[in-house]
Assembly symmetry: C2
Homo-oligomer: 197 residues x 2
DNA sequence: AATATTATCTAACAGCGTTAAATTATTTAT
DNA sequence: ATAAATAATTTAACGCTGTTAGATAATATT
């Protein structure tokens, strides 16, 4: 029966409404301001109805985290595709990572534990993707040098540390002047990239 | 009267008991597990008594943050004093910073907003000290080259980003293998230091 | 139209930070 | 030493949180 489908569609819609409402509240009031009752209010239901769609609050955060990774991974892929040269690809990807963080500050906080508790329950596959994309490109930059996995991994975390660190510093405090940020970011990336060859 | 002093001493002791109890609870259950009622329980009082010693919970966190900075600053100073050469001093200081983070994980989280909301209310002077200590040493490493403040600041944040980033990554997730951590850390520090001359 | 199923809500629980008022303990003054 | 004043501490409550169970309303099935 088609009515089944319609109902399923409605349920799916409500589920999305919950996630959207959560996003909106967080953007307006931060993670501290998010509560199930506020979400319920926004979607014009009472709080317990949320448990028909999510096991608990944590499950909502997990779903939002997943969505965050989907956007980030998309951004990283299109950044890579925007360049030909692997070195330029790598730089573009880290810049895309940087931009994602500031265009989606709250998401970034949730995904990476900046001023906010992450939900590292069941790690879903999307979490692995940035690592795969970056290390893949790092290998390309290094060329035919048959570097072992440990070296690749180490190089990745060197990039990751400085980029994530700089992002965190900006998200937590008042932030640095914008030009200084970009200078540090690009200098660091160039420096690490140089160490790849 | 001497009894006044005794009472003042007792009040001071209770204040410290509150802070100590908070530390103990956090070490055992994490920041999520900390509550005023648990603190009160630990010091064998009821919850409202805490408001005789602190304006609110945030004030307790602020005091703990301050204490954290006092320890960190002491560590940084004694690290600097342990070496003669400015370059070695700088390396020893960042290593001390690193060690502080892992010997006082919860404190570090509170002070720098890793998986935990910081209390950046009224910035107290101790927060500035690490910056002063590091930049001072950076200037010494750079020698007579009359570098402007912006350059010094930028170099500091380059160090800071990679060290804080790597610490954050370790505190949030499962953490990297220990030898890889130290290799990344030391390589990064050496790399940035080389860029100073 | 009566029954079964689903959707939704109301009410409640235990915990949280916080406040005001009542109570107990201690100090001061007579 | 007793009464009054002050200080220390507790009890009770408020509004908030996530969450659960049970009652009610709406819909679907027979």
């Amino acid at each position: 029966m088609a009515s089944k489908d319609r109902i399923l569609r409605l349920k799916e819609e409500t589920r999305n409404n919950i996630l959207d409402a959560a996003c909106k509240i967080v953007k307006e009031e931060g993670w501290q301001g998010l509560s199930l009752r506020k979400i319920a209010d926004a979607i014009e239901y009472t709080a317990p109805i949320i448990y028909e769609y999510f096991a608990n609050k944590e499950a909502i955060l997990q779903e939002l985290t997943k969505q965050g990774y989907l956007v980030l991974n998309k951004d990283l892929i299109s950044a890579k595709q925007s360049k030909e040269n692997p070195t330029e690809q790598l730089e573009a990807m880290w810049l895309a990572y940087w931009n994602f963080a500031f265009e989606n500050k709250e998401m970034y906080q949730l995904m990476f534990g900046v001023e906010m508790t992450t939900c590292h329950m069941v790690a879903f596959p999307e979490v692995q993707t940035p690592y795969d994309l970056f290390t893949e490109t790092i290998i390309e930059v290094m060329g035919d040098k048959n570097a072992d996995d440990d070296t690749i991994c180490q190089k990745y975390y060197t990039y990751y540390s400085v980029v994530h660190g700089l992002i965190s510093i900006n998200l937590v405090g008042n932030g640095l002047p914008n030009d200084m940020n970009l200078q540090i970011l690009k200098d660091a990336i160039i420096g690490i990239t140089r160490s790849l060859n």
